[in-house]
């Protein structure tokens, strides 16, 4: 069974703190993604990685960075958390081969910034 695991389900941080969200997939997928999910806005792409050490900005990268040192792991970093980054963060992975790019999602990490 495919598995995308996010390290923390719930986090509470203070404004200005550095936050790490980690994601691990066991499907040997090349592509990995970080989205944030907000009510009424759906999912918005923050960053994605199409291979190890490769990364691309998504639609809302400001205030975020990412790291992909190993194929199975993709980390999202908030250098200095702000209250407007309170959200649900979803990690996803996808096989680069195949006819259609279905995404496999983790359970999500709900971050509250006080």
């Amino acid at each position: 069974d495919v598995k995308v695991t996010q390290s923390s389900r719930y986090l509470v941080k203070r404004t200005g703190e550095k936050v790490f969200l980690e994601c691990v997939q066991d499907m040997d997928h090349e592509n990995m993604f970080w989205y944030r999910q907000d009510p009424g806005l759906g999912l918005r792409l923050i960053y994605f990685s199409y291979d190890v050490k490769m990364k691309e900005k998504g639609d809302i990268p400001e205030g975020y960075s990412v790291s992909r040192e190993k194929k199975e792991r993709f980390s999202l970093i908030l250098e200095s958390a702000s209250t407007n980054q309170t959200s649900m963060y979803l990690c996803a992975s996808r096989d680069s081969g195949g006819a259609v790019g279905e995404l496999f999602f983790g359970e999500g990490s709900r971050l509250t910034v006080l």
Binding site: V4, N31, F33, Y35, G40, L41, G42, L43, R44, L45, F48, Y50, E56, G58, D59, L90, A92, A99, V100, G101, E102, L103, F105, G106, E107, G108
Partner: protein, 113 residues
């Protein structure tokens, strides 16, 4: 830029009622289309997908969707909903061969028993 529009943000139905959730996208090229579902407390999962061939696609749990290219639409349907279909539904699109999948705002469906 690509965008996805879902017509209804909240839908309330009684069991056995028919369901149709609207989805329109803006992109002129070849696309892959998806519906994802998020049941309460669970992760997002694929409901169905279209990439080529028969424009009427069938997914899990009796759902189907029809791709109408001329209308840039990919509406989700189910003839008779159940209480267990209560969930949030997301329409999504990506450019064929592209990396980015763009999601709509989602539709929250509540089915009354």
């Amino acid at each position: 830029a690509q965008s996805v529009s879902q017509h209804n943000h909240h839908v309330i139905l009684s069991e056995a009622a028919s369901l149709e959730l609207g989805c329109n996208y803006s992109y002129g090229g070849t696309v892959n289309l998806f519906w994802y579902v998020q049941y309460p407390g669970q992760h997002l999962q694929l409901l169905l997908k279209y990439f080529s061939g028969d424009p009427l696609v069938k997914g899990i749990k009796g759902f189907e969707a029809e791709f109408i290219k001329s209308k840039f639409s990919f509406n989700l349907r189910k003839p008779s909903v159940q209480w267990s279909d209560t969930a949030e539904y997301f329409c999504a699109v990506n450019e064929s061969g592209g990396f980015k999948t763009i999601f709509g705002a989602g539709t929250r469906l509540f089915v009354k028993a």
